[in-house]
Every structure is written in structure tokens, then in C-alpha cells.
Amino acid sequence: MSTPTLQTPPVEPAEAPPAPRRRRIPLWFWPAGFLAAVFVLAVLRVVTGADDIASSGVIGAAIALAVPIGLAGLGGLWSERAGVVNIGLEGMMILGTWGAGFFGYYMGPWAGIVGGMLCGIVGGLIHATATVIFGVDHIVSGVALNITALGIAKYLAARFFSDLPGGGPTQSPPLPSLPRFSVPGLSEQMARLEAREIFFLSDLAGVIGGFTTNISAFTIIAVLLFIGTFFVLWRTAFGLRLRSCGESPVAAETLGVNVIRYKFIAVCTSGALAGMGGAFLALVAANIYRDGQTGGRGYIGLAAMIFGNWRPGGLAAGSLLFGYTDAARLRGGGTVHALLLLVAVILLVVGAWQLKRNNRVQGITSLVVATGAALWYFSTDSVPGELAAATPYVTTLLVLAFASQRLRMPAADGQIYRKGEGH
């Protein structure tokens, strides 16, 4: 998820003189950046005494919470890259949880993944038919799908799970679990190193251990899907055509691209991915289907996609960030409170940098927020639960506030396309 992230975005078609290409970020930057981030966390741990801040436990939990968000976001990315806004991700996820529950119970966990995918595709088909074929407003169709999917899943659950042993109208019987893997040798070493509580080294071991220990097979599939998405959309002719439908469908049409077909495929793929996100929730995160278990993760996936500037790498980073804040909040141990200090310091640096570049408004806003966060940190012992729960949303708002100029959505995203109207 690293290298491709911050590559130069495609040159804006509208701009007359080609925008100056930004420098490529050298390869050594990523490992160095990773080490620096861990170092910051290590310092933060020592300063604040929040021991859970870089433990393998919190990293493992963050990954488990990030995968459904990431898969939903990846679904949104496919759809929006082809120019269809997909607010129906939540609904597709809900269908996916039911599909995983039904097929997972009867035919095993692998069939559960496929079942979640298929049910997600059904949602994708509905959205695609409405928006691509009939030209319905994307938001209207998506919201309708969310509401319908909720009802359908509840009906299906009540219809098929009620009489099963351990099941009920609101939940499925327990589902069989997928295999989990650890990197042999490495994860034991890391666990040992983490337990020795050496500054920085143990934190590093915790983070690496979290990424290499007890990882579900589904998580590995999700990572492969991210890499696969990048290669398909940015390295193949198919992907170029699909993205052209999101940038300028009329231009694509004049060049012989069957825009309707590409958009249709993209929205169905989107449904499949969101459905898999739902399947992950049911099969791995909870090993049970339960009404309402998606809990708005489809929307957070959408936020993560915007956070990630409609790119797979950025989306992965956004999902991990949201997963991490969620894990930190649920696990307690003062991590969220400690993160306040981190926010204060980061904003202080950003503010100073913006002021240096003569961006007065942004610079001063950052400094004011930084002071507020610092005051908050030093005057309290914990963050109230109500506010801690809002961490992912606050993060998205912060990113939108400070990076909105750099975010660039597909040019024709959300526009209704009708064949032959471009003449």
C-alpha cells in the first residue's frame, strides 16, 4: 500500500499549461517514515504513560477493524473512479453480512466470503441499474439502497435463521472460522522483544508483531485486493478506460469506450467489494451475523476513500487510521487521551509551516486548535466516551479542512451520463 500512494496525480485535463510535476518521493522515504512514526509513538508512550499505544494487541485490533472499512472504501473507489457516487456502500455491506452468514453456515467460511460477495453484487446491480441505465440521481439511489438493504437483510435473517440452533430472528448461528496465520519465527521473536519493554525497540516489535501475528486469511485477501485494484485500475488498458468514464465519459465515448458497460462493471465490482467487507465483519470480526452489525462502517469507508484522495494507498492509510482510533477507543487504557497530545504537536508543526509559507488563516487556525488540544490534554485525565467515539469523524474533518485543496475527485463523479448526449 505504500509506493503508489503519493505519486503525481494525473494531470488535470482542464488546465491549459500542464501543472508542474511534483518530485517523486524516493523509495527510502517509506521505511524511514515508518520508523519515524514508530519513534514518535514510542516517545508519546513514554511521555504519557499510555502503554497500549503501540502494542501488538492494538495494532492487531486496528487491522481487524480497518479491513471492513477498507473493503467498503475500495468498493467506493471502483465506483467513483467510473463516475458513479456510491453512498449505497452501507446497504451493500449489510447484504454482504447476511450472505456471509447464510452461505458461511451451510457451506463453510470460504463459501461465506463468496456468498457475501454475491449478495453485495446484488446490491451493486440494483444501484448500477438505477444510476447507469435509468439515470437516477446517484445519491437518491444509494440512500434508497441503504434503506431497502436493511429491510431485506432483516427479513431474510428472520426467515432463514429463526429456527436454526443458536440462531434467531436477529442473529445467525455461530459461523465457522477462517484460518489464521503468523509469520513463523518472526512473530515469536517480536513478542519476546516487545515484552522486554526497551524504548523504541519494543514499540517497533509491537507494531511489526501486530502486522505479522494471528492474521486472518481474509485480511491477506483484502491486502491482495488493494494491490490488485491498483494494478487493474492504473496499469491496464481496462483500468484506463474505466477511469476515463469517471473523468470525461463523453471523451471516452468518442474514443469508442462503451461507457455504460464500464460503469456497470465498476458498480457491480463495488458491490462485490463492499459485500466482502460485510462478510469480513460477519466471518472474522464477529463470527456471527447480527442485525445492524455494520454500524455505519460503509459511510466511514466512504470517508476513508475521500481521505485517501480516491487512491488505493491513501485509502489503506485512511482505513488503518480509522481502525486504529476505533481500536484505541474501545481498548481504553488512555490511548485516545495520549493521542490528543500528538494532535497538538502535529498541528503546532503544521501551523508553523503554514505561517512560514504565508498561509495566515490556515496557520493561525492550526495553532489555535493545537493550543486547544494541548490545554485539553493537560487539564484532563481522559476523553469522555461521547467524544472519543467521534474520533474517526474528527480525523476526516481535520484532513478535509487542511488538505482539501489537494484532494481531487474524478472530474465527472456523480454526473449522470446518457449515451450520445455529448454531441
Binding site: 502503554d51 497500549d52 502494542s55 494487541g57 492494538v58 485490533a61 481487524a64 477493524l65 471492513p68 457516487v85 453512498i87 452501507e90 445519491i139 444509494g142 440512500v143 441503504n146 436493511l150 432483516k154 427479513y155 435473517a157 428472520a158 429463526s162 443458536g166 434467531g168 430472528p169 436477529t170 442473529q171 448461528p173 455461530p174 465483519l281 470480526a285 464477529a286 463470527n287 456471527i288 447480527r290 442485525d291 445492524g292 452489525q293 454500524g295 455505519g296 459511510y299 466512504l302 470517508a303 476505533d326 481500536a327 474501545l330 481498548r331 481504553g332 487504557g333 466516551g385 461521547e386 467515539a389 475527485m409 472530474a411 465527472a412 463523479d413 456523480g414 454526473q415
Partner: protein, 356 residues
């Protein structure tokens, strides 16, 4: 394009808010079926006609509503009363609840049982309009009236006992509490649990957390959140966790089973009702006998002894208790029963709000 993005974000936020408001039930979030009908008549029919209004989930939710239904069934079989049942739908407007109650009354049902605190506002409207009808409102004292019986439970007393059990069973002197949604009702569970654990060991470390805050009620139905929170507690040294988190509790049990530790169930005897492979980790459950409350109310109705106002079902009355299924607390049963007796005798007063 900027326009679209603006709309998209507005809708996303609105949709989020709406989903959060969507589920409004504490112990159950479930399918909203249309009004179900069940009529039963026994040999010696009584002239009491009972209308039962369930919360979201209704009959068959293996939890709160099912417990109420069990009480109704028992009373119906014993006294031969005529019954009619109706179920709330998820996300329905307040007026729908009022209409449901009024329809039952219009159909000639004169004893109305409203299952769940969500009915309090609609009872407040319907009860004064129908002074001849008797109402039972479960889990809420938000509205009291001359023709309303508030059937509430001393959850804190039952939680005190399982808190004591946790403190006696822990080997690390570190126990946990996971609440589904931070409402005053769930805080009663927390307060009792803490008091019980500290009664045994004043220095015990108690980790506590709530999965969500109102108006986000997803904490009662998100096992992934329950599992994450429980894993965090187990990894920071806790070895017994008590959950009052409805459907999220399944995740707590999964985490306990993976970490080879102990968990405590809630509402019903979860060592019997939870998934078979995690039943082994449930050492006891705090039982809340909604069925007893409903049965007692109906019995009083049949006998013509309607009593308005709050009726607390506590340890003394057998309204709450701890379970012994699985034999995991057999070794400490004497101590727990002694504490139970002390509560019943009033030697121990259990707080119903946690110190912050």
C-alpha cells in the same frame, strides 16, 4: 462536481445520524414484523384481556422480549386469559407506538403490557386518555400514573453478586465491565458490579468501558466492537469480564474463549443460550426475570389486585439473581448466597449509579 461533493457529504452525515437514531431498543434490535396475533383460551377462561406490545425484536429474540413472552404464556396457560400481541418496528416514529397501544385498547384489551423503556413517552400520552385501562410499563419509571404499573428491576443487586463472583474468581485481581450503550439503565449494571467486586477486594482493579454513547445504539448489536474491547481488557490483565451489551456480548464471549479466560453473561442464563462453543467460558450470568414480572402483573390483574406505581423486582422478590449453570461458581456459592442474604436483609445497600 463541488456541488455533488457537498450534497454527498450532507447526505452522508444525515444518513449517519439517521442510522444512529434507527435502532432504539436496548436489549434487542431486530426485525420489525407486522402485528402478530395469538389468541389462547383455556378451560376456566378469565375475563381479563391482555394486549402485549413488544419492543423491536418481538417474540423470538432469545432475550428481553422472549422473556416477557414467556411470562405471558405462563399466565395465559394458567388463567386462560385472552391475549393479543403486537411488535414495534425498527426506526418507527413515536406516533406508531401510541397507535399500537390505542389499537389494542380499541380492540377491547383492557390490560396492556408495554415491553421496554421506549414505550414510556407513548404511555404518557395513551394512559391518561384511557383511565379504565390498566398498563404495565417494563424497565421505566419515566411516566407514573394512577393506571400504570412500572415494572422495574434492581439490576444493580444482581450485578453486585456477579461482581463479587468476578472478584472471587479472578487470579489477577483485575476484572472488566463492558456496557453496550451508556444509558442510565446500563449504568445501574455497572454500579452494582463495581460495588460487588470492591466488597470482596477493595483494591481490585476494574476496567470499564461503553461501546457506544447515545444516540448511537449500535453498541447493543455489534459483536466486533464487543470483541475488540474485551481483547483489550484481557490483554491488560483482566481475566473476568461482565458484559451488559446485548448482542455485542457474543464478541466478548469469543474473546474470552480465544484468551482462555472467563466472562459473565447478562439478562438470561447465557451459559445455556449462548453459542455452544463459548458456553464454557461463562461462569455465571446476571438473570433479570422479566417473565416473573409480567406473570405477577397478570396474576394481580386476574385477581383484581392492580397496583399502580413502581414495583421493583429485586433480589428479595426473586426478580434478579445469578445463575449457576455449568458449575463454575459452585465453590463460591456459599459466599455469594451470604452476600445475597445481606442485601435482602438490608445490611448491604447497593448503589444504582456508578461513581464517575
Amino acid at each position: 462536481m463541488r456541488q455533488t461533493m457537498k450534497y454527498a457529504s450532507v447526505f452522508a452525515v444525515a444518513a449517519l445520524a439517521l442510522t444512529a437514531c434507527g435502532s432504539d431498543s436496548a436489549d434487542s434490535t431486530d426485525t420489525g414484523t407486522a402485528d402478530g396475533t395469538e389468541t389462547s383460551t383455556a378451560e376456566e377462561a378469565s375475563d381479563v384481556r391482555v394486549g402485549m406490545a413488544y419492543d423491536v425484536g418481538g417474540r423470538g429474540d432469545q432475550s428481553f422480549n422472549d422473556a416477557a413472552a414467556a411470562g405471558l404464556d405462563q399466565a395465559a396457560a394458567e388463567f386462560g386469559i385472552e391475549t393479543q400481541e403486537a411488535t414495534a418496528t425498527d426506526g418507527e416514529p413515536e406516533s406508531a407506538r401510541e397507535e399500537r397501544l390505542q389499537q389494542l385498547i380499541d380492540a377491547g384489551y383492557t390490560s396492556i403490557v408495554a415491553v421496554g423503556f421506549a414505550y414510556a413517552p407513548s404511555i404518557a400520552v395513551v394512559a391518561p386518555q384511557n383511565p379504565d385501562v390498566h398498563f404495565a410499563l417494563i424497565d421505566s419509571t419515566d411516566y407514573e400514573g394512577e393506571n400504570v404499573a412500572n415494572l422495574v428491576f434492581a439490576e444493580e443487586e444482581g450485578s453486585f453478586l456477579v461482581g463479587a463472583a468476578a472478584a472471587l474468581k479472578t487470579r489477577t485481581d483485575n476484572v472488566g465491565f463492558i456496557g453496550g450503550v451508556q444509558t442510565p439503565l446500563i449504568e445501574k449494571f455497572e454500579a452494582g458490579y463495581i460495588a460487588g467486586a470492591q466488597e470482596i477486594n477493595p483494591d481490585i482493579e476494574i476496567q470499564r468501558t461503553y461501546l457506544t454513547q447515545p444516540p448511537d445504539f449500535s453498541g447493543f448489536g455489534d459483536p466486533a466492537k464487543g470483541k475488540t474491547a474485551a481483547e483489550g481488557m484481557y490483554q491488560s490483565g483482566a481475566d473476568v469480564i461482565y458484559h451488559a451489551a446485548g448482542g455485542s456480548g457474543g464478541g466478548v464471549f469469543t474473546a474470552a474463549s480465544e484468551a482462555n479466560t472467563m466472562a459473565i453473561g447478562v439478562d438470561s442464563d447465557q451459559a445455556k443460550t449462548a453459542a455452544p462453543e463459548v458456553q464454557d467460558v461463562i461462569i455465571t450470568s446476571m438473570i433479570k426475570k422479566v417473565d416473573v414480572a409480567v406473570y405477577e402483573f397478570l396474576k394481580a390483574e386476574v385477581e383484581g389486585n392492580f397496583q399502580a406505581g413502581p414495583q421493583v423486582f429485586d433480589l428479595a422478590g426473586g426478580g434478579v439473581d445469578y445463575s449457576t449453570t455449568g458449575g463454575k461458581v459452585d465453590d463460591i456459592k456459599d459466599q455469594l448466597d451470604e452476600l445475597k442474604q445481606q442485601i435482602i436483609d438490608g445490611e448491604i445497600t447497593v448503589p444504582s449509579t456508578p461513581e464517575s
